[in-house]
């Protein structure tokens, strides 16, 4: 690890840490991005050099990568130090910073933006790559989702020869992309959004679905038998030998039990006993503000981040049945400027409860809710939203920058 770095790489690492610290001290964020940028200018191979000799897992997908990375880190920490980009800086600058900040960590769990998977495969030579799901996200600027799956398939074929893939058997796009790899561990991680995989990604025919099973009647692509799954009853993960690992997660929802299953599958490939790792996952209370519980004026808010249709549907599945719900929508550059995806989300499950709408694009949400017959009130910001609901529990669902705005109101709660 860092002992083997060239003088140039050491210098780059020092500069990186200084830049990151300055950025933090001046309140510009956690400094991951700027630090990494500085380091990579001085030594373009810095990421590769810092990754060398470590056991690396890359975690990618449209939804759940930050949480799964946190779970995976907690699980592997059972046997050693783990470098991780826990602030969601999931491009090479963030990866470089994460590794530079933890020179002694033997392991690295890196959340990877979907579009950088190929670059990271080449630079970090991961032992394991976890692929969670692919669904529509940021329509105005991101690649369409089938094209992204095709790109993954190609990049895995050329660059993942040494890696074991942990992949979601329930997502046809993931299965198609990962099936070119030699060693794949399949996890039944679920699929909350099926509309982007009605059609076989391999041949364009219809996929038949029977319960959780799916197959293409034309080319034969089908759901592989998963080695890991979420237990049907109770809160547990079932491993390859049928053994149950009980979960006692603080994070809500089936989707987080699936993230836990993926994390345990990854950790076991690093030699961690899942029975030892599972209890560690219950120590995760929030992830960069996601699922954080904050209190204001007698209202207990739970903050849920949901960036795309799949994420909103997952959030509606997680929320408690009775409390008021605050929905906040922005459409700034990182959110995507196009809000049309809110029509891919079914809001009818919110009918009958108190719904408060805010964010830059609250009017878009108002029109959307009216179409679904959900009553709502519209307010200017999160403070007004809090004032508009009675004391007690409140569920808050927001997309990316809307979520960051709300976090900022609560001292950037983690």
């Amino acid at each position: 690890m860092s002992a083997n770095l060239t003088p140039r790489a050491k210098f780059a690492t020092t500069l990186l840490r200084t830049a990151a610290a300055l950025s933090r001290a001046t309140g510009r964020g956690d400094g991951s991005v700027i630090g990494g940028r500085v380091g990579l200018i001085v030594e373009p191979r810095l990421l590769e050099l810092l990754a060398e000799g470590r056991h690396v897992v890359l975690i990618s997908g449209t939804n759940g990568k930050t949480t799964t990375t946190r779970f995976t880190t907690a699980a592997i920490e059972a046997i050693g130090k783990v470098a991780t980009n826990s602030f969601g800086a999931n491009m090479p600058t963030g990866h470089t910073t994460a590794l530079a900040k933890a020179p002694k960590a033997e392991y690295a769990a890196l959340e990877c933006d979907e579009h950088y998977l190929g670059q990271l495969l080449d630079a970090a030579s991961p032992k394991v790559v976890a692929l969670l799901n692919l669904s529509r996200d940021q329509l105005d600027r991101a690649m369409e989702v089938t094209a992204l799956a095709a790109k993954w398939r190609q990049t895995l074929q050329t660059s993942a020869g040494q890696s074991t893939i942990v992949a979601n058997a329930d997502d046809p796009l993931i299965v198609w992309a990962a099936s070119v790899c030699q060693r794949v561990v399949w996890v039944a991680a679920g699929q909350s959004w099926t509309a982007d995989s009605a059609i076989c990604p391999n041949c364009g025919s219809h996929l038949d679905r029977f319960g959780e099973f799916w197959r293409c009647t034309n080319c034969g692509l089908n759901r592989p038998s998963p080695q890991w799954s979420v237990a049907q009853e109770g809160e547990a993960v079932v491993g390859p030998d049928g053994r149950r690992y009980e979960l006692n997660l603080q994070l809500p929802g089936r989707v987080n039990r699936a993230n836990a299953a993926t994390a345990l599958a990854v950790a076991s490939l690093f030699g961690v006993d899942p029975a030892q790792a599972a209890p560690r996952l219950s120590e995760v209370a929030s992830v960069a503000g996601r699922y954080a519980k904050v209190e204001r004026e007698g209202r207990q808010l739970r903050l849920l981040l949901a960036k795309n249709p799949a994420g909103w549907l997952e959030s509606f599945d997680m929320i408690e049945p009775n409390p008021p719900v605050v929905l906040s929508l922005n459409a700034r550059e990182v959110d995507g400027f196009d809000t049309s995806w809110i029509y891919d989300v079914d809001f009818t499950s919110l009918a009958g409860r108190k719904v408060v709408v805010t964010g830059d694009r609250r009017t878009d949400l108002a029109v959307r809710l009216e179409v679904d017959g959900v009553d709502f009130i519209v307010v200017d910001d999160i403070r007004a939203a809090i004032a508009a609901v009675p004391p007690g529990q409140v569920e808050v669902v927001a997309n990316y920058t809307a979520f960051q705005d709300i976090r900022a109101e609560f001292n950037r709660v983690n």
């Binding site: 329509l139 105005d140 509309a195 809000t339 049309s340 995806w341 029109v367």
Partner: protein, 238 residues
């Protein structure tokens, strides 16, 4: 008419940008007038019903667009619906495939020839807010939407532009969309009908066989506020 049957064609192939929203908006606005709606989602491996009162077709990627055009040509029902004067609303890739030809997967494909137009590739992708002055005969006022397409569309003699572009690209930077009879094609998703309630009402009126002015009014406070916001955002940016 007891129930308005609205077919949403091929959501398995063409539903990329909230296209379901147009169906939801039409159903919402019809029910607000006491008209029952039977939404019919027709997959690309199913026959297209002849008996519906309105047909919707959405946007999608190149591959699915080419498959959809091929299946619709073989099926024939959408062409017959157009000949019978049934309202058709087509968005983006769906709009292009109603023309004589369109461009996908690096080559030209035959379209359904329902609208006199053809589409090819533009110099760059058109992504962003779009606005325009709609054809006055339609009586729907200015239009607002979001576009995201690589194609450019050239209108023939037998169609008229849906609108003159005031922001965005649309067909070619000058006009947006096309209409002839009761068939409307547009690059506006967003979805178009949520932001353009009068366009939704025009389609409903055509389907029922009344003048739009005969439809009872619905409370459009929120859609009108959304329209004002989007037009204002564009004028602030210009």
């Amino acid at each position: 008419m007891s129930t308005l049957r609205i077919v949403w064609l091929y959501p398995d192939l063409l539903s990329t940008y909230g296209d379901r929203g147009n169906l939801l908006v039409l159903a919402h606005r019809a029910r607000a007038r006491g008209i029952d709606v039977e939404p019919m989602q027709v997959r690309s491996d199913q026959r297209v019903p002849h008996t519906a009162d309105m047909y919707l077709i959405g946007g999608g990627e190149d591959g699915p667009q080419a498959v959809a055009a091929d299946r619709l040509l073989q099926d024939g029902a959408l062409n017959r619906a157009a000949e019978a004067g049934k309202p058709i609303l087509a968005i983006c890739a769906g709009y292009q495939l109603l023309g004589a030809s369109f461009y996908a997967n690096g080559r030209a494909y035959e379209g359904l020839n329902i609208l006199d137009l053809r589409s090819d590739r533009g110099p760059s992708r058109a992504v962003g807010e779009i606005a325009g002055e709609a054809a006055p005969q339609l009586g729907i006022g200015p239009i607002t939407g979001f576009e995201n397409h690589g194609g450019r569309t050239h209108l023939g003699e037998a169609v008229q532009p849906l609108a003159r572009v005031t922001a965005g690209i649309g067909n070619d930077g000058a006009t947006e969309g096309a209409w002839a009879g009761h068939v409307i094609g547009t690059y506006m998703h967003g979805p178009g009908l949520a932001r353009n309630p009068k366009l939704a009402d025009l389609l409903l009126a055509w389907a029922i066989g009344v003048d739009p002015s005969q439809l009872p009014p619905v409370d459009d406070t929120w859609p009108e506020r959304l329209r004002a916001e989007r037009f204002q955002a564009l004028s602030a940016a210009q």
